[in-house]
């Protein structure tokens, strides 16, 4: 058994899915799974490894573009909006090859591991070489991303994104040439060659109604349905998308995706910031997921979505770090509640437990790992522990530990992270990688 492998864990406090953390939780592992969970175990048995602080299921980061980590801090000078930001992002995308992508993604996924993320849904649209040049292996990028996650120690779902148009009825150009397979058929043929394994799964994505016409969107949706894959799409992040969609098709992006058969319990709408009443009802009655990415939505001036009303309509929330301008799932979680407070003038739209569910169990379902995101027998032993001994969380009492963590913790408070029963982070350090050095090197290697 390696030093990384755990067999019996004793948690000072653990969140088992309820409204309160439990004190003294003993977790027996059976390989990568949880075998049993006992509560009220007041002191650690001799053979147990102690997890001091609050242990929760590892976070599922349901929406990431790993390479955008290189933009952190680099897009903040001057003015602009989502669309000028997108131009800067395209410049970075233009300068990346699969090797650079691998190094940058590995470092970024390792930063996620340090933040308690044990599974990531990588919404992947950078498929081809400069000008659309096909690599010998047309999945060179996708495989690099999967391998990066493996080496960083986190599970991944590669949400392979179909991207065919540069806008509604507009040809792809510039960096977009690297995103496009040219046709649904070429996309499907390529994606069909991707292979799953114990830590990597595959899902499908319709980039957006801007980048995929309705006919192709219907085909991608059918392709995902045949395989019971998760299906994701960027949806109504900006008002301009809605306006263009209504002008071209006479319906909102949500209505269009409903019409092409995309909406289902396997579907996750990413952002869903600017929704009409009918859109809310469609996403809710379809039992869809909605992945909010609040720190990115703040950064890109997207606006505040209708998280509470989506939940009331029947949708299930998950959370994503998206552009990776920050990687801190707790900041994402509390931002859902806090931004809604700013807009409404009242508190308490989402409880701390609800926000943790979005960041763990619901996110795991959204990216096709339903057996993760719970501390329960049979679940994957994917765990994150927040130390309560730092200054941000000092004074936390057991009966409000989840509120303290959700509303006051930072990624830097994550002490231990376990994926499939193996430690990947211990005492705040990644066990395999010098993450900051790798980030520095990977970003320095990009064309400036």
């Amino acid at each position: 058994m390696s030093a990384e492998q755990a067999s019996t864990l004793w948690c000072e406090l653990a969140w088992l899915g309820g409204e309160r953390a439990e004190a003294g939780v003993l977790i027996e592992l059976d390989g990568e799974r949880i075998a049993s969970v006992a509560t009220e175990v007041t002191s650690p048995p001799r053979q147990a490894t102690t997890l001091a602080g609050l242990t929760i299921p590892g976070f599922a980061n349901a929406h990431s573009h790993a390479f955008q980590r290189a933009l952190r801090g680099r897009t903040q000078a001057g003015r602009g909006d989502f669309w000028t930001w997108r131009d800067r992002m395209y410049e970075v995308a233009e300068g990346i090859d699969p090797d650079v992508c691998f190094a940058l993604a590995r470092a970024t996924f390792a930063e996620m591991a340090l933040a308690g993320i044990t599974a990531v849904g990588e919404f992947h649209y950078l498929h081809h070489g400069p000008g659309g040049f096909r690599y010998d292996d047309p999945n060179a990028f996708g495989k690099a991303v999967i391998e990066a996650a493996r080496e960083a120690g986190v599970r991944i779902t590669l949400l392979d994104s179909c991207y065919l148009e540069g806008g509604i009825d507009t040809e792809v150009h510039g960096a977009q040439l690297r995103f496009s397979d040219g046709s649904y058929e070429a996309w499907a043929e390529r994606v069909d060659r991707l292979e799953e394994d114990p830590v990597a799964r595959v899902g499908a994505a319709i980039h957006s109604v801007r980048a995929v016409d309705p006919e192709a969107a219907a085909q991608v949706a059918a392709f995902a349905a045949e395989r019971s894959w998760p299906l994701h799409a960027h949806l109504s992040e900006q008002p301009a998308e809605n306006e263009e969609c209504v002008a071209a098709y006479g319906k909102t992006p949500t209505a269009l995706l409903e019409e092409v058969g995309a909406l289902s319990e396997r579907f996750t709408a990413v952002h869903a910031t600017h929704l009409a009443e009918a859109d809310l009802r469609l996403l809710g009655s379809g039992g869809c997921g909605v992945c909010l990415c609040p720190t990115t939505e703040r950064d890109l001036a997207d606006g505040i979505g209708s998280a509470r009303r989506l939940v009331e309509a029947g949708a299930t929330l998950s959370l994503g770090s998206d552009s990776n301008a920050l990687i801190d799932m707790i900041e994402e979680a509390r931002a859902v509640e806090l931004d809604e407070r700013l807009e409404s003038g009242v508190r308490g739209h989402h409880s701390a437990a609800d926000l943790l569910r979005a960041a763990t169990a619901s996110g795991s379902v959204a990216i096709g790992w339903p057996e993760a995101g719970h501390i329960a027998p049979q679940a994957l032993a994917d765990l994150a522990t927040f130390g309560l001994d730092g200054v941000r969380l000092a004074g936390t009492a057991a009966d409000h530990a989840i509120e303290s963590v959700v509303f006051a913790a930072a990624a830097a408070d994550v002490r231990d992270v376990i994926v499939g029963g193996r430690f990947i982070v211990r005492d705040g350090a990644h066990l395999r990688l010098d993450v900051a050095a790798e980030l520095n090197d990977a970003i320095a290697a990009l064309p400036s």
Copy 2:
């Protein structure tokens, strides 16, 4: 010379107030002041102490209620609004005596020091014993707070708050009895006994138009003017305050404070969230300060103020941690910009340099330490250094270092803090106090 005392500092990068950080900055100290600043010093001289990362002036936290640190994480269950939160805050205030206050404030100010805060404006309204009982020393609380800051190593301005009414034309009751001196005259007599020293200054505060009638507000304003003290007031944090003020006096809180002579360049309006057009013009034309407290405003569902328009009108922004639900001035700084992005749909309302100025030089002026907040000859040698070697800031390049820090750093990235030429934080640790342990002990000592 103690181990804490610095004489020559070499900064890998330092922000000297412009739009870019400078590389290789040599700072010579003369006791508690900066003697000289040289740039383009490519390597550290032998006698210099190296500050690796980005060095900025220490933060001025222009609005704090230290004892509210005890509420962190404890008010997040259930629903409610600003007013129900206030009831919980009153419960904590009811249970505090000067000794408890000292311990809690010392630990909280030490947490501020770890976050790079070198001066705090403590908006202080807890003056008396249970039921309004007068201690032998009527400034027992104020002196405890000043002493707490001294031991924590940070400068303080005790903004002693006049609080006479429980609401417009409403007598004080419950916890408010501890806040009230009974009359302006009694407040003034008590405050006149407070003494300043090299690390502690005194200012005045009108708690709010809810708690101070216009006649007393005019007297407090005149008292502060005679002494050239800073004058602060909570202003229009909630719509209900505006409505009650207009109903009682036929004018907004801002107009009322203007009428009583409170507005001036020494005046700081705290929050200023819900302003009429005329209010914006009054604050701007008066050259007033406005202290935004965005993490508290998010927490308490206050709403998003008009920061950009206040600046355009002529007001000067500063920042405060207020309720201390978080202590992270960088989170406060970026929240000003990010919340305004959410509301407007565009980016770039406040540059990173503007936000840093609010958090440093402007905050220093607001709390009456105009000689702090600059890295320049004659300025107080109050400095904070962000390490760029953690995962959040890895990949930062010199030419966008201030954007990276403002938009991606956390308090945990603060490595070194110097106040008056002496290190109080080194390598992320407070040199005098075990801060987390003190926070735990102080909060555990409160009545539950």
